[in-house]
Symmetry: C2
Subunit: 351 residues, 2 copies
């Protein structure tokens, strides 16, 4: 079976379960609507679950997708490509940002190699699902073949399946690592949202004005090549293995009715790819934070998602997605543990 055909079969979230949860929340001992977006989150979790959500979302994990990008040869990043593999070692050793944040929010951390340019060390928390050792340089041709698009989607699906085989999974936070991947995300966002390269390209890990101009030029030229073409053509031309794989992970989690917490710009670009394959998948997605990358706002607007955290993050690794995981537990506990006005014997009821 073509992975794309399989993964596109995503059911819409459950509107009846959402309505039942809204009714329950409106009867709890608080003014109606006074918990604002925490209520909306609980309603979404019920819609995703198709009934009462997980009580605590304790079975929570962060999946960090790793890939390298041929376009770094154009000087679009402040860091050399070797940093991808070095950072992964830090993820696995627990000494990188995402390790500290995963422990802070009591989430498992799993790293998946979808396309690093160097071999990565074997490790219990590393899934080896490498499609190829980095994409081709999309400044001079397509980043990947259509067979590689299918392979990356299947790899992302396999990552979620492997995580679920290992232990229960009630909430999935997605992150990424890949030097140069904001360039791919900017091109995907521009092409999939009909936005200009100037609006989707940012400074990534912190490039100077000269590199920024070059990055915009490269994205503009690549996007021009795919104007009006299908999402498959766009992804072949400017995608990244970790980005396409994360789209496969989103679709797979959605098919299993597991909420997916999106990190920043790169993961949002993966959600745009998932949306192109199965629009219903976005109902299972939760936007954690608003990145400082300008293209993130454009992607979020197209996805119809509003972030919960205001932290000016621009790291990636799943850092923002990790920080939003406690909100799922809070929303679910609110819905499951609070009493109604009637149960608590409080006067005034619904104002």
């Amino acid at each position: 079976v073509n992975p794309c055909d399989l993964l596109s079969d995503v059911a819409p979230v459950d509107a009846a379960a959402a309505a039942a949860m809204r009714e329950r929340i409106d009867s709890l001992t608080k003014p109606q609507g006074s918990l604002g977006r925490l209520e909306d989150l609980a309603v979404q979790l019920a819609a995703i679950a198709g009934g009462m959500p997980a009580h605590r979302y304790e079975a929570r994990a962060i999946l960090v997708g790793v890939g390298d990008h041929g376009v770094v040869a154009e000087g679009v990043s402040a860091y050399p490509q070797a940093v991808t593999a070095q950072m992964v070692r830090g993820f696995l050793a627990g000494t990188a940002a995402i390790g500290a944040l995963a422990r802070a929010v009591r989430a498992d951390l799993v790293v998946a190699n979808f396309g690093a340019s160097e071999p990565l060390p074997a490790h219990a928390d590393l899934l080896d699902l490498c499609v190829a050792r980095g994409t081709a340089n999309f400044a001079s041709g397509p980043a990947m073949t259509s067979e590689q698009v299918d392979a990356a989607l299947a790899a992302g699906a396999a990552a979620v399946t492997a995580m679920r085989a290992r232990r229960p999974l009630e909430a999935l936070a997605l992150g990424e690592m890949g030097i140069g991947n904001t360039t791919s995300a900017a091109a995907l966002t521009a092409a999939l949202c009909d936005a200009s390269a100037e609006r989707t390209v940012g400074r990534g890990t912190g490039i100077d004005d000269e590199r920024l101009e070059r990055k915009i030029e490269i994205v503009r030229a690549a996007v021009a090549r795919v104007a009006g073409r299908s999402w498959q053509a766009i992804v072949c031309e400017v995608g990244g293995f970790e980005i396409v794989a994360l789209a496969g992970a989103i679709l797979t989690a959605a098919r299993a009715r597991i909420p997916v917490v999106l990190d920043g710009f790169i993961v949002a670009s993966a959600a745009l790819v998932a949306r192109a394959i199965a629009p219903h998948a976005i109902g299972y997605c939760i936007a954690a934070h608003r990145s400082r990358e300008p293209g993130h706002g454009i992607a979020l607007a197209r996805l119809g998602l509003r972030p919960y955290l205001d932290l000016d993050l621009r790291l990636g690794e799943g850092s923002g997605a990790a920080l939003a995981l406690p909100l799922l537990e809070a929303a679910a506990r609110m819905a499951c543990e609070m009493k109604t006005f009637a149960e608590a014997g409080v006067a005034g009821a619904r104002p």
Copy 2:
């Protein structure tokens, strides 16, 4: 000793500790500044601690200050005053929103009666520090005497002291419950921030247009009575026992170098009172979220604080403050547990 004189002795946060923390964070394995406001929070926690912050802020507690307000006789709230005591019973039974959220963020929950109109049931988690059974109606005279202001400040200090005597306290989240207390907070904010009643008065728990007009009129008239007068005069005229006590709690926590997480509009008005007594106290304060009450933005601007969560909350009880507590642990773990570029052997170092 006059409690106000004692509590005004708050040292500024430690600038040298802040600088040392910023230097450490800039050497960690991530692009400089890429964790945005999480880095700023870690720097603030170091400044508050006067050195390395608590590693995990596991000794975390929520203090909910309770008080009633004579001004509810004017019909400014959608709920009757008896709801204050009924809600407190829900807090102590663990069935209210703050109970569920406290469990979600692994925080102790302590309720302090600073001025409820009814006796509250004895309970291990309830501190009985009642100044009087509700304030006077400030539509027709001062809400409290100057002796009551002192007593409320001392009661707030006593609450924090009692909490610390019971168990260690590394982070304090503040919340409140008191039917009618957005009216007092709106008047305090208008008077202490030189803002008009129209800009500081909101719908609280959800009043209709008619009550909103009445609420604005009452606040406008009361604020006019204290124009140009001292903070003491303002607090006597329009304060609330729980609000003044929470100011005492902020000052006491600051004196003990404990970070204070502020909830919404009412706690922000308490911080305005604390600031009037000891401006340095605000350096120990962290704004959790931006409430939908319009006066909250005015108070936050005066305090110079920017919230971390975007949740449209308008409940109170400490709900937003509770939800921000995990960010303290995340910031501290990031600072304490990540390796530097040199330690991790990652190339590229500082871009």
